[in-house]
């Protein structure tokens, strides 16, 4: 991990160096522009990140109670002295700003500290072993959502008020109102208990170790089918609704009229001229949906007993494992910021008109709201 961090820094330094080596007159203007923007953006991301960690740290440490309560006040064998020694061990006796400073210092070395639970393992290890499942679940969900919501949005917008539009609108309202955990319960009853088609919960079956490699893949897939369905259903409504609105917006522009007027086939107008433009705002929405997905995985992993980040976080909160909670929050923030950044960069790459005014955090969405 430290290695990759170092490599990234070295690459950035290399690019900056090469750029500075060029004589001032021959430096490509676009590159200078890009470099300046990246620098500003980097500084802004860093500030946001620090803000998030500070607020999280304060909220968690200022809340009444302490992680040592479990082992001391609730334990008749422990006296006040034991509590003091335990607090000292975890560094909880130091003033808050010093604790935050020490935590930041460790973070700079990508060290999230050691879990306060009885296994005392590094927080980083605990998170990294849980991350692939949550990330895999969310990426699959996002891909499926895109794959379904784009055609739904396009077709619904093509005949506004038509049968398909009405049917999908109904579906969208249901999707918005459906509590994901309730849908999960209903599906579990139907497919796992009544029909016995799919396993009830967990990631693997009891006989997982004895299965063939193909059998193992199928086993995990059958365990993930319901969680992925529930999560996709939840985000599909919003995404297809947004796609429809974006498409409707584009379809009334002049260039669509031009395309139709010069006799292009409707298919080409819809899928080449309209779709390309309607997809742009979707990129921003994708970036903005990252925090929702990360948060949503808590309930999803809880109900399906999946050993992912959400479950880890839930358990950490219940046990007041400060380092583990902070580690999860930081990672959640990093994923969110990365999602936003990726969306903005992708937006810039996809739309030459936008390249001039890149801004973080749903600037695109705000523009559409104000337009």
């Amino acid at each position: 991990m430290t290695f990759w961090f170092g490599l990234a820094l070295a690459l950035i330094a290399l690019c900056a160096g090469l750029y500075l080596l060029l004589p001032a007159g021959r430096r490509p203007a676009a590159a200078a522009d890009l470099a300046g923007r990246l620098l500003r953006r980097g500084a802004w991301l860093f500030a946001v990140f620090m803000g998030i960690t500070l607020v999280c740290f304060l909220v968690i440490h200022l809340a009444p109670g302490s992680p040592t309560d479990m082992q001391t006040t609730l334990n008749p064998l422990a006296d006040a002295d034991a509590q003091r020694r335990l607090a000292e061990l975890y560094g909880l006796d130091k003033p808050l700003y010093e604790q935050y400073y020490l935590w930041l210092k460790r973070l700079a070395r990508l060290d999230f500290g050691v879990s306060m639970s009885s296994d005392s393992r590094p927080v980083m290890d605990k998170i990294l072993e849980r991350l692939p499942l949550t990330l895999g679940l969310n990426v699959t969900t996002l891909l499926l959502t895109l794959l379904l919501s784009i055609p739904i949005g396009v077709l619904a917008a093509r005949r506004r008020g038509g049968m398909f539009d009405k049917a999908t609108t109904l579906f969208v309202f249901l999707g918005f109102a459906m509590p994901g955990f309730w849908l999960a319960l209903l599906l579990m009853v139907t497919f796992s208990i009544d029909l016995r088609w799919l396993p009830l919960s967990g990631l693997t079956s009891v006989d997982y170790a004895s299965l063939s490699p193909t059998g193992k893949v199928l086993d995990v897939m059958s365990h993930l089918a319901l969680p992925i369905f529930v999560s996709t259903f939840g985000s599909l409504a919003g995404m297809s609704r947004f796609m429809r609105a974006s498409m409707l917006d584009v379809l009334q522009r002049d260039f669509i009229l031009t395309a139709r007027a010069k006799g292009l086939p409707e298919r080409r107008v819809l899928f080449r001229h309209a779709l390309a433009n309607a997809l742009l705002p979707m990129i921003t929405i994708l970036g903005l949906s990252v925090p929702g997905l990360i948060g949503g995985s808590v309930i999803l992993e809880y109900i399906f007993a999946l050993p992912g980040m959400g479950q880890l976080f839930y358990n950490a909160v219940m046990a007041r494992d400060y380092p583990l909670i902070m580690g999860n929050l930081v990672l959640g923030a990093v994923l969110t910021l990365a999602g936003n950044l990726t969306a903005d960069v992708a937006y810039g790459l996809a739309d030459p008109r936008i390249r001039a005014g890149l801004r973080i955090g749903g600037a695109g969405l705000r523009d559409t709201e104000e337009a």
Binding site: P291, G295, V298, Y314, L329, N340
Partner: protein
Amino acid sequence: MRGAGLLYVLKSRTLLVLGAFLVGTMTAAALAAPWAAPFDPLAIDPDAVLLEPSALHPFGTDSLGRDVFARMLHGAGVSLRVGLISVGISVSIGTTVGLLAGWFRGLVDECLMRFVDVMLCFPTFFLILAVIAFLEPSLTNIMVVIGLTSWMGAARLVRAETLSLREREFVQAAKLAGAGTARILFRHILPNAAAPLLVSATLGVAGAILTESGLSFLGIGVQYPFPSWGNILIEGKETLGVAWWLSLFPGLAILLTVLGYNLLGEGLRDLLDRRASR
């Protein structure tokens, strides 16, 4: 509304009417709960454990013999309070931030909107979970925390409205007439920005109800033995495949209430929006 009257309203405002009906029903249920509930929602009856729905217990009983219908009527009050109060908090914060940013512009605007951007990058549900678990789960804490983490949309909306309204003639006239900033903001600008704000608040109620039920389902919302739709579903999960009525009815109630507020919000948007509705 022309002569055709009721029928015309029903046809042209389907969303609004349907939404108002659902919201009205749920509100009535919540208000009537203390009198309408056939049983005490907390009364345990060892002789009536896990009974299927019947005339006596319309929604059945739970594993302690408590009447699910009575518990759900009382749960409606929880959802209603969470929805209205947390949205009240978020709209107050959002309106204040939006008015200040839109009116003063410049540095104030820049700082406030950057703060909104930061808030939008928060892993909100993680934070809500941690805060509530630490502060002792209670209805008040849930309402406050949901309110404090969901005001950003309202802030952006009010800011955008303020930015356009402040250039209008009636605002300039009020300024010339010597009205103070507070008076202009709250008496002249805010009422004119109320329509979109009302729509977003209505949709916000739906979101808050969903969040609360999720928290209660995780066991950190409304605490045992007091009922909420989310924590009746915990029992639904525990008796999965045994007592279908414990998972079906509370979930359906959440679905219909959230649907009601969403429909009402969309209906209001169609009704109030000056711009072409989407």
